[in-house]
Subunit: 335 residues, 2 copies
Amino acid sequence: MLVLRKPYLLYLGDAQLKSDCKTAFGLRDWCREDVLGEWSHPDARVTLGLPRLSPAEAAARGAGSIVVGVAPTGGLLPAHWQDDLEAAALAGLDLVSGLHTRLGSFERLATAASRRGVRLVDVRHMNPPFPVASGRRRSGRRVLTVGTDCALGKKYTALQLTRELTGRRVPATFRATGQTGIMIAGSGIAMDALVADFLAGAAEALSPDAAPDHWDVIEGQGSIFHPAYAGVTLGLLHGSQPDAIVLCHDPERQTIEEYPDYPIPPLGQAIEEYLHLGRLTNRAIRCVGLSINSSALGDAAWAEYRARTEQEVGLPVCDPLRGGVAPIVDRLLAP
Amino acid sequence: MLVLRKPYLLYLGDAQLKSDCKTAFGLRDWCREDVLGEWSHPDARVTLGLPRLSPAEAAARGAGSIVVGVAPTGGLLPAHWQDDLEAAALAGLDLVSGLHTRLGSFERLATAASRRGVRLVDVRHMNPPFPVASGRRRSGRRVLTVGTDCALGKKYTALQLTRELTGRRVPATFRATGQTGIMIAGSGIAMDALVADFLAGAAEALSPDAAPDHWDVIEGQGSIFHPAYAGVTLGLLHGSQPDAIVLCHDPERQTIEEYPDYPIPPLGQAIEEYLHLGRLTNRAIRCVGLSINSSALGDAAWAEYRARTEQEVGLPVCDPLRGGVAPIVDRLLAP
């Protein structure tokens, strides 16, 4: 499994829009203790409000990596960021990027990294080979976040569940399956970049045998209702063998995003579908709650939606960014 | 999509066992018209009963490729086959292999191919990039073979269905998703080697828009009940958007092969599971029959099994190697 060298210096390039810097804000919010500061091109208009450190200054304070925390439209790495990234490599920092462009495709960066003995880490391309899944049950406990669609809070929910568990002194580990998650955790497996035959096998490797009371909190991917990505979702579900799932949902979406012919099913039906498929590798799988992205709802509407949905599905309903996930964790830990 | 240059010369290396030459026998049986002859190392003990031709003789008769038709245990290409394969490249034949070892990893073969201007085709590694699935319905009709497990006749069933359809002058195309299938068809997509995010997208590309009365007969992969491969199976099912499925089964198997903790469900339940999942991308999906590997049953036992199973599931039950699949095709073409 890919392991990154922390702490980080976050790089913003010449970002003009906060929305392009989701990775950097995610790292600031979810692993603040692993972030020394930020650096950017002089033309940048976005700041994270962190100490501004040059690569050399960050290296002097013990930084292990500079992380590209901005994703320009198209996911390509602009050539004019090379000066900053070359300086970081020469200062002794690993370069970490989740963009499509491989860092090593810039000859200057490849040369600098090789001369200074640092790594060019393309999170999207770094999976080692994995074995085929064995289907064998593993010790320890696992909870997986699943979704009615993509991009509606599966990573944030998993992070918040991990925080709540560790806050209660329950041993728990966040297991990352996407690029930003991997940067936050410092390790993980980019599921969407795996060779298809090894999906479930990689998911098994991601959450190995553990102490009986330990929880792996696994970041979900895609959706079983998505016409393009359901295969990835199913492989991750089978290999994770979760004891529990948390269903993530955005009440504003009636159909899969960008697939208007694909309706999102009723929540009770969505839960049943995941449990049905999950039983192949764990007969005891159960759903312990719903995580809702309620950002479009006012306080009264959210309270009404929450009460109605709790009654409908008979499970705790939370928004991780609006009051946390304590009721879901209560249910997770209930005997 | 990968397209191979026919006709073929089949190469058997120094094979000692018929069972190692499944690919060569499959090509002989399913695309005899595309096979000019066989060639092997002097130590080989297996023959296909075809004309023995050296690479130069085959080239003189118009051969396009020499196909490695033998898979030694472990799937690696032995170094002592290099003389024969180099001679084939220098005679002007493309080299085609489905083994793990890349042909180009032998410097002599890379050099010979480059000097003579022929291709080294590693079927297992040759997929071009595919787009993400659109979920859009396509014109034409599609039937997909699915299974209760891996390796129980999905390819043979698809080939036999294609033969039966074309024999009735119904326009039909076999669509290959595995290595041997690709060699038989001369083109196709190796599903198990795809990057996971593009599974369904590749399946969409494999069976593009077609004439309204044309059937694509798509070779299935894996099984939705397999703890390692269900993700591949689901991606192929979703992207294929089949109008019809044929369930393939081996009555000797009580559990998934090599996974004794994973029981194979009753046939009616297996059919329902595939139809349920397939409805995501094609609401009208239906099952038109069962294809049974009955090789372990005597004639009386097979007749009894067939009658009992037809009554149980209410669908035609055939063994493609024991009387063909005409009743299934009757049902497929029924209005």
